[in-house]
Amino acid sequence: MNFEISKRGNPLFVRIHPFLAEMIKSVAEDPWEEYPEGSARLLPPPGTDEELLTDWSDHVQPDLRRRFDDDRSQVAQDIGTMKPGRGKLPVCSLEIPIDHVDAWLTTLNALRLAIVTEHGFGEEELAHKTSPDLSTLHGIALLKLNFFAFLQECLIQGLESRESESGDQDSD
């Protein structure tokens, strides 16, 4: 699989191996269903103030949950456009519209956080100091986690290339 910027200025993944295409399809999984324990990390408390905690759980967290679900729906739609190629090995390509990149980044981040919490990965494993044991679910989860991080890095690179084209808009 290679990462490019399309002629339309969108992030584009090409020559996606069928195995990786299946992993990409899993980005649209609902973390609340797939990782019931890990998904607790997705809506953290804002502090310790009692009044604030009540307000947060009544108003802010339901709103955030809706936004995460909307982002995931957007991602699922984009995945539906993944084009299978022809030939011996049916590799795919996936172009992600630049204005969908935020939805992808949030969805990927939510999944990664849920996976880490669910599987209890330690800093050593996250820092690539150990090789994943791919005969276990734990090891496969680590593989997924690293692949999703790679997708995030590519998408951030895509956003940055767009920013540098349109000039630095920083307002420091």
């Binding site: 953290p44 804002p46 802010v60 981040n109 990664r112 880490v116 996250l126 995030q152 956003l159 920083d170």
Partner: protein, 97 residues
Amino acid sequence: MMAKPDLLELPETELSEALDLPWIVVVHNDPVNLMSYVSMVFRRVFGWSRERSEQHMMEVHTKGRSVVWSGALEKAELYVQQLHAFLLLATLEKTSH
């Protein structure tokens, strides 16, 4: 007849002063979030330059936390909500003085 002292006056003043204290928005370290992602979120939420965003991102990474904003509660809540929307670990804290 002497007027009774208004015993409620002092606590009310203290409460008023407490409400005036600024709140701070703190971002905590999380080994999952990519450094490039955290820096991008700071640029997006606070409109900071790349350099300033990276300074705060490195502070989170090396010291475990970084104070990214201080001021009135209402705005601080809004910032924490925005940071949570990007899944950063952010909290609101009241300054002690």
